[in-house]
Symmetry: C2
Subunit: 333 residues, 2 copies
């Protein structure tokens, strides 16, 4: 029913090969015939059948965005920003497929279904899938953390980022600092932990002397963690939080205790979450530019797909965004 190359060939009085060449520019075609073919193609509303093209060229013109899971606990922001970042780079040149790794049936991965994969992996249970894709030589790039199998990756310097936040608190004269960390089984948590730990050391402060609570990156756990810290250690002057959402919870918790930020308590976050800037918190935080990460990853992936070169890993700096949730306590030291 759909108009094919054959229809055009028949109408133009040339061969299929001719039409294909005219349409794709993949070979010589006489001037007048080319014009005629293009005109007829337009007239007939010809659109190439992607399946046929894919089959013949073994290229799907599709990039797979693979997430550990598409569930209610995964982050809307990350999905959104990854889509934006990738779209920015690939424009309309590739289709974007969203794939959940946890629902993947082992052994069913068709190497032709995606020309390349962008991996947004949170859990080690993704490894089976990654191995399958890797063994089938599908070009892939991991975004936002290093993975096994020597998969090229773009990552941000989580440790350095957290160190910046800690350095900043210390530079503003804070010494009694409470920490609200994330789930302990996450690599990001480990890196960020190392960040403030080293920073404290550098400033001659014993990291083990600082109280730590653990949250799960959501608002409510930030709030309860802060409540515990602030009641057990009323002398704290600052809270270093492992993400913005928990930082916002911490600020509300402080308000409940009659503490105003930054007058009575300083707070830092991590992520530069959209809402952190818009909201009233004016949160000082570390920017994890996910759009940038994704676009960088897409660039690497395109190189890998189109030139077949193995891209170099990329580390992106995390920038400290200074707003007004941290008070200067006088020259620290």
């Amino acid at each position: 029913m759909a108009v094919t190359i054959k229809d055009i060939a028949a109408k133009a009085g040339v061969s299929n090969a001719m039409v294909s060449r005219a349409l794709t520019g993949s070979g010589p075609v006489a001037r007048d015939k080319k014009e005629k073919i293009l005109r007829i193609a337009k007239e007939l509303g010809y659109v190439p059948n992607q399946a046929a093209v894919s089959l013949r060229k073994s290229r799907s013109h599709t990039i797979g965005l693979c997430f550990s899971s598409i569930d209610r606990t995964s982050s809307p922001y990350v999905l959104h920003q990854v889509v934006i970042g990738v779209s920015d780079v690939v424009g309309g040149r590739y289709n974007l497929l969203v794939k959940a790794i946890d629902t993947h049936q082992p052994g069913t991965l068709d190497p032709g279904f995606c020309d390349g994969l962008l991996i947004m992996s949170r859990w080690d249970s993704d490894l089976d899938f990654l191995e399958e894709a890797w063994s089938k030589k599908i070009p892939m790039v991991a975004i936002s953390r290093q993975l096994p199998l020597d998969i090229p990756f773009v990552a941000t310097d989580e440790q350095g980022g957290m160190a910046k936040a800690m350095d900043y608190l210390l530079s503003q004269g804070h010494r009694r600092i409470g920490i609200i960390e994330g789930p302990q089984n996450l690599e990001a948590t480990l890196c960020r932990h190392a960040g403030w730990w080293i920073s404290a050391r550098n400033w001659g402060l014993d990291p083990r002397s600082l109280p730590v609570e653990i949250g799960n990156f959501r608002y409510r756990t930030g709030k309860t963690a802060a409540a515990r810290l602030l009641t057990a250690h009323p002398d704290l002057t600052a809270l270093l939080c492992f993400n913005d959402e928990m930082a916002l919870g911490a600020i509300d918790s402080a308000a409940d205790l009659g503490l105003k930020v930054p007058r009575d308590l300083s707070v830092t976050g991590f992520d530069n979450w959209d809402f952190a800037g818009h909201s009233d918190a004016r949160l000082t935080t570390v920017e994890r530019n996910t759009i940038r990460i994704a676009s960088e990853g897409a660039r690497m992936l395109l190189g890998s797909m189109e030139q077949g070169i193995r891209p170099d890993n990329v580390y992106l700096e995390n920038k400290l965004i200074i707003r007004s949730s941290v008070r200067n306590m006088g020259t620290g030291g």
Copy 2:
């Protein structure tokens, strides 16, 4: 390089057709041969070539999620929830393709590239694309608003939802209510406007007597709109906001003026935004269950794709979620 049906056929000593039938169950195959074929297929790690299957069967096993635009102004929540809702319904049976309508090149839509489309349209400029898809007989379902061309849709009762919020405020005895609306060119705004307007009438209140300000659905504009309303009309006891993010802005604005919610001011939102429940605001709001909308739309689309029946339009109710941002002023009336 990839193992094909031919390889299996050769190894099993049968024809291609046999293998295809054994693998897909589309025809009779002798017991022992079937077992042998399946075993060999597994041994060799056979995965069907999707492009070839698509070409032959004219089905792509892909659903396109079409958004007006994938840009920095579109909502992360909506994208995320749509993906969740659709995944819930289609499981692993279809691939999910994210497509931006605004970057579509007219006339390049291959009917075979998606078996069906889920349309998340915000603007009327999407019409060209919709017409193209519609004319190519690609099954489609619009989610979250009615569109031209008689496209089947699932929508929520925005007007009724907003009426519920207004009814609730009025039932709690509020009469001096300020309204923070959304952009005036959006259909959602018009419907929600009609909602509170009618509700006010029903309670014998002249809608034109209530002060209205306009925001753009973001936190900051909610905040400034609230500031204008509250300073110009200090007697207001409640603010009816057209979404949650602006409501949160309004609450912070009130705090700046020394007003505590709900003691001094009542506030309602719309959306039941994720953060609205988690945050301290405990916002009373109208639930727009986007996951539900998306899954319902997906169900309709599957019906349309697989049984070829034109689905009936669906209207979903919006539920009022009562938390603690509205104060009871004594028996109203």
